[in-house]
Symmetry: C2
Subunit: 582 residues, 2 copies
Amino acid sequence: MENEKQEILNHSATHIMMQALSRLYGAIPGVGPAIENGFYHDFEAEHQVTEKDLPAIEAEMKKITKENLPIERKMLPIDEAIKLLKKKKYKYTVELAEELKQQGETEVSFYDQGEFSNMCRGPHLASTGELKVFKLMKIAGAYWRGDAKNKMLQRIYGVAFATKEELADHLKMLAEAEKRDHNKLGRELGLFITSELIGQGLPLFTPKGTIIQQTLRRWIEDEEQKRGYQLTMTPFMAKSDLYKVSGHWDHYRDGMFIIDASGEEMALRPMTCPFQFQIYNSQLRSYRDLPIRYNETSTLFRNEESGEMHGLIRIRQFTLSEGHLICRMDQLEKEFEGVLDLINYVMKTLRLEDYTYRFSKWDPANKKGKYIDNAPAWEESQKVLKKILDKNKLVYTEAEGEAAFYGPKLDIQMKNVYGKEDTIITVQIDFALPERFDMTYIDQQGKKVRPIIIHRSSIGCYERTIAMLIERYAGAFPTWLSPVQATIIPVSEKFVDYGNEVLGQLKDAGVRVEIDDSDESLGKRIRNAEKQKTPYILVVGEKEVEAKEVAVRKRGVGDLGSQKIEDFEKTILKEIKERLSE
Amino acid sequence: MENEKQEILNHSATHIMMQALSRLYGAIPGVGPAIENGFYHDFEAEHQVTEKDLPAIEAEMKKITKENLPIERKMLPIDEAIKLLKKKKYKYTVELAEELKQQGETEVSFYDQGEFSNMCRGPHLASTGELKVFKLMKIAGAYWRGDAKNKMLQRIYGVAFATKEELADHLKMLAEAEKRDHNKLGRELGLFITSELIGQGLPLFTPKGTIIQQTLRRWIEDEEQKRGYQLTMTPFMAKSDLYKVSGHWDHYRDGMFIIDASGEEMALRPMTCPFQFQIYNSQLRSYRDLPIRYNETSTLFRNEESGEMHGLIRIRQFTLSEGHLICRMDQLEKEFEGVLDLINYVMKTLRLEDYTYRFSKWDPANKKGKYIDNAPAWEESQKVLKKILDKNKLVYTEAEGEAAFYGPKLDIQMKNVYGKEDTIITVQIDFALPERFDMTYIDQQGKKVRPIIIHRSSIGCYERTIAMLIERYAGAFPTWLSPVQATIIPVSEKFVDYGNEVLGQLKDAGVRVEIDDSDESLGKRIRNAEKQKTPYILVVGEKEVEAKEVAVRKRGVGDLGSQKIEDFEKTILKEIKERLSE
């Protein structure tokens, strides 16, 4: 109910904003939906709206709410609606109405408020006076229908709330979120950059960002090896033949980068499965060989639309801790539980524990285009997955139509700092691809049997997980993940030699350590290291030189006093080795 | 002189073989050059020659040498030559002659022996009787002019020698080489596979092969970090804009995979340089920041022609230990020497010490197409490189026209098991790209200055280096690189539990260890482990269980007797940690 009320507020706010834009600039509306956390409206106007215009637009909206215009819904026959919209020169809405007509709609609803009227599904408030609290947030450009071939329209985002307190809370949350936003903070901390020359959705990890990825990668590869996984390294491209067998060519081609390799049709891979299956198929396998657990630190490519790319979250190239467990039916449950246990261990170590589960199923009504058309396999795999989830007492939501094209999934969902939910890890049960790739093992009776496959990740895609970590830690990475684990600051030039001695000793011990012997004042250098969120600052002066000590300041704790170098070394190495959090 | 004699032998052998093929099958000749280690001739014939036909062809060749036909050279005006070739229906040779005419040749040489005559540059023997020792080696198919759009011709390879001893030596070398050939042995040891569905030049590393790559990669990344390198992770594709600035678009486009990314022109990267330069350019750099040493375990792509791909050596995707040192002119020499020292350390550790140096320069006559057209930069960088090489007393050959398009190189050359030389590492000095990317640093006077760049590798491309290692070690990798470092073999089923105990203990210590508790006999299991070239075989029976020992067999050494598990553990861990060779 709460959500419904909020949606009505948002809907009405879009119309009131659009009415203000019509009055001020004679704007022609595009689409204007309610979205998570607010609303936006696209429009065409000769006047190019800037941030500076927002107060004036808000003032006009305020005026419209003061006028307290009644909001009235009316139904119009579709042809009459098109005629009316044409008369109003609402050319974008005309296009939408004509599409509705083609889809067989015979009548559509309009909402009127004073001189403003537009086609809309609603629902809306009863009068403009009921909108009390709203704020316009930002402006943007957006191609009509998201297509770069169409005209670029203007867009204004806003929020609407029932009370001033809710607005204040929202703005506070946003301010906090913006400080942590990985796309802002990650750049400020010098973890990644992007380049106009290279293109959108292709971030470059700097040395600092790369150290984080390398540390995570080695940890995950080692942990998986301990759990019986075998690492593979397979190519990032293949002939279209491979994807025709896997089904990617029919169900996923738009998401792939196609390459003409001197006449051969090839594509960059969007998933690793068919590549690891080639390794499985390169030998005869016996029931005794199963389960086989393959993992790969795998680079994948997705042909995202320009408008969709963002930071480290929506990118064209990413690296997934991707694995496939090939097992017998009698091993499936145990293997699945092993996967859940690994994910739980990884998320706990990273302190990303506030995830939720989503059970993503196919949509039988949409099976032709989106899914492999094998209803019995779908029913069977969904039944098996549900049984395992229930047995393990997982609390999950269900999502129809969110399955992979070849099987149902368990999604590990997590919210970013703005409250937007994203999938960060998936686990899938697959009865379909073993069939398509003719994968078999020889059972105890000497017969060929199809194995079952679990597709899974453990830490998800490194880029996305690092984005989550930047936001959760607000950049203050635990020591084992920090690009710089300790910064040595000599009190003055006299102590630089000793500082370098400490540097060498800690470096040799495997600590990522830097020295700041620049000309800045002591206070400034300490503040710089704090701004970089370095876990330890080691100040060295007269007293430390004599005692062979370092004065330790721990991030988030403060001054720990002076310690023998060896003692500090022991402490920090333990923290790194055991992946401790503060 | 020796080489010239050998080449004449090869030349004459091709004609004698072609003469035999004409007599036996009415074959029409294509091209037939002398090559490294022998010769081949392409031809068209209705009869499909198989390996079984080779003795008959050799017999006919023997007959021709017995006939001792005089070999006579004659010069023909080009039009007369074409007329003669047309009359003989040598359609492929007609094509070649017409091309020579277009290039302005007015006369060409023919060699006649008995009824056989063909256009040829020569030189040849004086008579067919002078060819004493020859052997046909293998058959193949080859498109006319190497173009898949043309007709597929037949090809026979052969060798010719002055003495029987030389032939015997050659065959012995070949037999030994074949056993070590990475493309054969690497597959036999289960290190990599290829897949028809994925395509040529795209090997898949199995778990065993991947462990080798992972071990090398971690070693190199750690060693480079110790030497002050900073690891980056940059995307594998970019807009064509980037390559237009770097010059790849003009000088290297044919070698690249081009992608149409929803209307944006992009390409997979053939080199990492322009990507790392974006990171350099993302900040203002001071003379105090230099040298900056970037490295990346970098995946690259080259659009190789189908016919050129081979094993792990010529592939479409490979991973290079690629780095760029960005330095001041006064740092160049020291940095270059640091690079040489690192390469030397890596090659020594891998026991790949029989490399040679090649100084690859540009070809001023070909500067328009192949090279960045900046003669002063070329002269300067070649002068600087030569000075450093001479100062370091390196013995090198010079190769004109083998430079990178942006600068001269020092190539580290190594021969494969067949004696074919390949470049496995390059180091380049580059004055051109800093200009193109407008890279600068601020000098002590506050002025913007261009840095100089050293492009370098340390271990080369992992695939190619692993190929070399397979051949050098004949598959017997030193313990630290072995996919399986020890195999535990229980004498009988009774000792499997104890075997698993040893397995657990060694695994926990970080040793890659397997147990073979299959139903095979003890002898068979030991032979299997030996065939897999496992460095240590640990047999466990009654005596070992009681004494908590393992009976150790060391590869290449033999039985070492029984040892306490702890003692063996200490020995093997030391061997792994110190990367010892036998």
